[in-house]
Symmetry: C2
Subunit: 464 residues, 2 copies
Amino acid sequence: MEKLKILLSLIFLLFLTQTIFAQKKSVDLIVSGGTIVTMDAEKRLFENGAAAIQNGEIVAVGKALDISRQFAARQIINASGKVVIPGLVNTHTHIPMTLFRGISDDLDLQEWLTKYIFPAEAKNVTEDFVRVGTRLGLAEMIRGGTTTFCDMYYFEDAIADETAKAGMRGVLGETIIDFPAPDNKTHEQALAYTEKFVNKWKNHALIVPAFAPHAAYTVSEAHLGNIKKSADRLNAAVVIHVAETQTEVGDILKQKNLRPIEYLDKINFLNNRTIAAHVVFANENEIDILKNRGVGVAHNPQSNMKLASGVAPVPQMLLKDLPIGLGTDGAASNNDLNLWEEMDTAAKLHKVFARDPKILTAEQAFEMATIRGARALHLENLVGSIETGKRADIAIVDFDALHQTPFFNVYSHLVYATKASDVRTVMIDGKVVMRDRRLLTLNENVIKKDANAYQKKIIESLLR
Amino acid sequence: MEKLKILLSLIFLLFLTQTIFAQKKSVDLIVSGGTIVTMDAEKRLFENGAAAIQNGEIVAVGKALDISRQFAARQIINASGKVVIPGLVNTHTHIPMTLFRGISDDLDLQEWLTKYIFPAEAKNVTEDFVRVGTRLGLAEMIRGGTTTFCDMYYFEDAIADETAKAGMRGVLGETIIDFPAPDNKTHEQALAYTEKFVNKWKNHALIVPAFAPHAAYTVSEAHLGNIKKSADRLNAAVVIHVAETQTEVGDILKQKNLRPIEYLDKINFLNNRTIAAHVVFANENEIDILKNRGVGVAHNPQSNMKLASGVAPVPQMLLKDLPIGLGTDGAASNNDLNLWEEMDTAAKLHKVFARDPKILTAEQAFEMATIRGARALHLENLVGSIETGKRADIAIVDFDALHQTPFFNVYSHLVYATKASDVRTVMIDGKVVMRDRRLLTLNENVIKKDANAYQKKIIESLLR
């Protein structure tokens, strides 16, 4: 009788345990306890929220209590008191140029390019330079919570290799330009290199290989046509500088009797795989063209200010719901890879330029740095928000630093008060790449040492 | 014989010791080993430099080797690998409003003031609020290397008390406005308070007490006259908002048939003790008036952008060598007290606004944050540069963070790459107030706790 009671009790206990635990799905990781800023379509915020992650994918987002009822995780990251945001999306940079940070400033664009940037590139840019500069830029971006970046440079295959090794996500465009470049000397070589590059990386989980014709004024119509054909055939993204300066607009007008965007559209260059960097000069018609073709736009407020290019018609583009993100441009012209400052600057610049403090809100600026930036890179199905089905690109950010005290509104706080140094932990594709401000996939000291060795070389090269 | 030899040896040794050490002057402190950015008239830089400090005064600046030959110090601060700069000068803020950081944003100025700022002030500003907010702002400023600030608020006597206790330097102006204020309800009360306040603090080593009539549109001509008379009699500084918005210009034009600066000059209000905040709207004639009267100007680029006020004619003022510094304005409208971002923004904003990348250089921006800012506050004989005879207000700044790598030019690096978080050690009047990022005169945790208690009160007060 006693034995039967014990047996029945055990069976009951087993049943109870199963009802409690059986429905708990096992996942790799739960980020739990902070305020989750989802940036989903409803802009949901979950205070004391959580996100469950399995195989690098976000499988659930909600209140921490609900998530903990449904999921059991092998690893839990405690985000209490912090904000959990989608990893930031840097829609335009030239990452190896981080090695040229501050090489020269406060010059006319032409003088800056011809006296410093072009000679420095001609004399220094090798595959090794590119690798060192890429690691330096990756480290800076990850430390600032950036998880995806869009690049345009030379030796892009090496950039892809370094990016993949660091566990970073990138839309990486090999530059094609009608001058001999550090890696490829002719258009044909560059095109062949890029096709090979795209084929090599197109199925990689983190890398989106792309064609990057430099601009309409540096690549001939015929060559743009070749690039378009190749990119279409390979279904690849195309990154290009568009209407950055008044000079560019004047030159294309003179040559083609059309403004840059009109011209690019006329030659059928623009589509929903195009990423147009800068777009400082675009009239209503050109904005409509970009919208209708599904072109993504990379707005680089600090670079456009520092090079005195102009103020892009961002509020007009937002009114028409264009996919427009924020970019840092290269560190040679900014001089950092800090998207927090770009958000802050974007919101403030457009306010003063339009003389309207409501024209670009903190929420809109943060959106441009996340989900709208993802749309600009045509990656909105993959990243840019914390929602079920997306890849787990997430940053956990301190919200109680002295310069963040007190706190009233989450978007205002993110855009106007938070700094890159407040980012604590970063994961990309479900893998933690920075934990409590310590980089896990890159060695900061080695990176600095390598970069400083190049600094000496660069200075000597400019004296030659 | 043997004894004589020993005696002679001892005498010789004594002589030798004296010749070596006798000329070494004993000082309190030597900062040694970094690159000293003096911001003196010749803009001298000393690589591997040093500064000797005695009784809070800089008694020598030069190469570290020369300084070590001349001086022996009780304390040596090793600045190797860092830059040593004059403490930054924040020429305009409302320090207790740090408690309103992000209370509301992205609104029209009138809506922002009448719906949020004025009610929040009416319901919350007490002497205790002011003390808590001051400590919060002081801590943020010191952490960012600011050593002097110019303030305008209520209960300024309490602000002076907190500022002196924290060891910070301030030009502190009690606000006088033609409305009942949290501390004084009438003009007469405010004037009496301020006179008493000025008399109390005028001989303090760190505090410059000042009159702060709010603006020409909020203080009547008669009242401005009273303030001027009192300030003249007490030889006190006068802080005032001038020509911040187009509305203000329009109002004064309508009332006085003169533009704000013309009006203030006509009533003989301006002199070389005046500090004019903002000056967004000033024509050539008005700039000449400011120059001729010796008025100091506080330029607040980020606040002017965020509130969509406009872009001040800073390049024109610099051409005429006006004493113009940088200010953060209050954290309610910025939303921080970070002069590094103001430098960066000033340089970039004026470039894009003038479409000229040379119009305001990094060196000029850094000058505005240091020696020219000191001139704006009429304190150029005291602070703003590292040179013999000045008070030792000095910040030691890391120059090898990842986002600062590599390094090419010191001013470019300071303005375009360095962040507030790179400031390591700060001294004011020869006293170290932050060492290796640890505040020595303020308790960060208590400050945050107190500020967060007010955050709750402020939210509740706005719901009432």
